[in-house]
């Protein structure tokens, strides 16, 4: 592998890792704060990708507007779903949460099949982001750079919200001691609903950004869900910085696994998880769960 290819693969790895982070951060927040294991999180990623496909004809060239509209729709969906399906799961054990969210996947897949059919759809890269750019030694697609930048921006925004705002303070407090936060008079019900909606919006955003690169197809949520579980396990449940670190690590291992061992590339990420479990079963950045 020559140096330019190596650089391009590194960029691919970072871009994939950042995309994973968008999905995994929502997953880890929802678990860390509400204690709910959400198997349906991959479905939100899928819903995002289908939103990108459906909205692209509606918004024409206004790609950024389309992303914002999609996120708003997804957040609304998350808000309602939390209300109807999740709000009474908090007191139940993990087993019931697994079942409920597993059932939601079935429903989401079937609704998707009714609304959008079972074909694979391609989503066009918006005009102003198409083509490649010369980066010194190599050329790289502009859209992939845009995806990196957008994910980084969101990650930064998430960091600022969680660490610098009042809402973020409540979220952090909620993650470390739920009952204390409740007894201090915080409206925990609303806090949960907001966090859940934000998690759904983040997953949908990842789906929307990924849609032009990966196309849109049935069952696309299942694959990313399991990789995100791996990310959360490696990073440590409930930790956003752990999720970022683990996402990048998984992105690197997966991308270079594909380069070096094409046949067994699917295994590399799981072997990484096995190694981390031997070394630090509580995850890289553990909060002591």
């Amino acid at each position: 592998m020559d140096f330019p290819t190596f650089l391009a693969q590194c960029l691919n790895a970072v871009q994939y890792g950042l995309l994973l982070f968008l999905v995994a951060s929502g997953l880890t927040l929802i678990f860390g704060i509400m204690g709910v294991i959400n198997l349906a999180h991959g479905s939100f990623y899928m819903i995002g990708a289908y939103l990108a496909w459906a909205l692209s004809t509606l918004f024409g060239g206004h790609f950024l507007l389309q992303l914002l509209a999609g996120m708003a729709l997804a957040a609304l969906l998350g808000f309602v779903l939390e209300w109807v399906f999740f709000s009474y799961l908090y007191q139940r054990d993990h087993l019931q949460q697994v079942l409920m969210t597993y059932a939601l996947i079935l429903v989401a897949e079937e609704v998707r099949s009714i609304v959008a059919g079972n074909e694979v759809h391609g989503v066009q890269v918006p005009g102003w982001l198409s083509g490649s750019i010369e980066l010194g030694l190599m050329s790289y697609p502009v859209y992939n750079l845009f995806a990196c930048a957008a994910c980084l921006l969101v990650a930064l925004g998430l960091y600022l919200v969680v660490n610098r705002t009042r809402l973020g303070m409540m979220i952090r407090a909620g993650a470390s001691n739920r009952d204390m936060v409740r007894s201090l008079g915080v409206n925990v019900t609303m806090l949960y609903r907001i966090v859940f909606a934000a998690g759904v919006a983040l997953a949908a955003l990842a789906g929307m950004i990924a849609a032009p690169m990966s196309s849109v197809y049935p069952g696309m949520g299942g694959g990313i869900l399991i990789i995100c579980f791996v990310v959360v396990v490696i990073g440590g449940i409930g930790s956003i910085s752990g999720a970022l670190l683990a996402s990048l690590l998984v992105g690197l291992v997966d991308t270079f696994g594909k380069v070096f061992f094409s046949q067994l590339s699917g295994l590399s990420v799981y072997l990484l998880m096995a190694l981390i479990l031997v070394w630090r079963p509580q995850g890289l950045v553990s909060k002591g769960y």
């Binding site: 993990h94 087993l95 579980f229 959360v232 449940i237 072997l271 479990l277 079963p281 769960y289």
Partner: protein
């Protein structure tokens, strides 16, 4: 008898044994008589229920008895099936005496690897880690070509058992397949029933209730959990062997996590911690899925069975947290509460 027999309730052991313990025997009798009365389609359906009951019982040992929620149990089922297919020869039927233990050992070996790592974690971590390792096994069979890739592979001959040239069991015959599956279910049920009453079963129940206390009492809880994990996987491998012999083919979807999720639904549907519940839940789930996807019953909705099944599961979680087997106690409790009020 004496006056005391009126005032004292019957001893709990006797009460618990009266009707419920006769039910499995009745069910077994019905099971043995079934193929004589049923059409091939129904007989096949019953056989599927029987095989999945073995599979569900094995997961019940983990989730119900030891309190370990595994979301990757289908991996061991699929490995059992694949080992059967891979070890069968193309020139003649493989021996059950070789293939069956091999399938169970194959599943057990992978469980030793997965269990040793995943049991270092707890709770929701354990759920995610077992799921991820099951997916790893899925990718091994799906992405590589040694076992047919995503298409899976066929068994040229179904296994048979011959002693000094005389074929005793030939799984090419539907009746033989049926009775082998029924026998496996009986054996699994008896084994797990005995296990629940043994020191090992009580230790697992103790771990479910309070692991720290068990550790303080001197139990090596990690070893107990690992033993349960491997044993459950071996029984799942047995179910996988039966599945491969029934279908004469295997494919990666046997290992998919959708299978694991459906299996969890079966044991919870029946009610956790009871063997009868696992079998009952499997019956209800498979029949429900069969009914929901039958055009004769649901017409145009039949093609959308995932939607109806999903909504049914959501309703179930919301309304029956203790499962079907728990309905009876749920109802009794309510009656008792009503009596207290009066």
């Amino acid at each position: 008898m004496t006056r005391t027999s009126h005032t004292l309730p019957p001893p709990p052991a006797l009460r618990a044994w009266a009707l419920p313990s006769a039910l499995p025997l009745l069910a077994l009798a019905a099971l043995l008589a079934a193929p004589l009365a049923l059409t091939p389609y129904l007989s096949d359906l019953v056989q599927k229920i029987v095989i999945f009951s073995v599979f569900a019982l094995s997961l019940g040992l983990l989730v119900g008895t030891a309190g370990l929620v595994s979301l990757g149990h289908a991996a061991f089922f699929g490995i059992g099936a694949y080992v059967t297919a891979l070890a069968s020869s193309d020139t003649g039927p493989g021996s059950i005496a070789v293939l069956l233990p091999l399938a169970m050992l194959g599943a057990g070996a992978y469980a030793l690897f997965v269990g040793a790592l995943s049991l270092r974690t707890k709770g929701v971590y354990f759920i995610m880690v077992t799921l991820a390792f099951a997916q790893m096994a899925y990718f091994i069979f799906h992405d590589t070509h040694f076992a047919g890739g995503s298409d899976g592979m066929f068994l040229a001959y179904r296994p048979a058992l011959a002693i000094s040239g005389v074929t005793l069991v030939d799984l090419e015959l539907p009746l033989h397949r049926y009775y082998l599956a029924a026998g496996a279910l009986g054996a699994t049920y008896a084994l797990l029933a005995a296990l629940q009453r043994s020191r090992f079963g009580h230790a697992l129940a103790g771990i479910r209730a309070n692991e720290q206390r068990m550790r303080a009492a001197g139990f090596n809880t990690y070893a107990y959990k690992l033993a349960a994990f491997v044993l459950a996987a071996m029984l799942a491998g047995l179910a996988g062997f039966l599945m491969a012999s029934k279908d004469g083919a295997v494919n990666p979807e046997l290992l998919s996590w959708h299978e694991s999720g459906a299996l969890l639904m079966m044991i919870i549907l029946g009610g956790l911690g009871s063997l009868r519940g696992a079998v009952l839940g499997t019956c209800v789930f498979i029949l429900l899925k069969e009914a929901l996807s039958s055009e004769a019953i649901f017409g145009a909705l039949a093609g959308r069975w995932q939607l109806t099944l999903g909504l049914t599961m959501i309703a179930f979680v919301a309304l029956m947290p203790k499962g079907l087997a728990g309905l009876h106690t749920q109802w009794q409790q309510r009656r008792k509460e009503n009596q207290h009020e009066h």
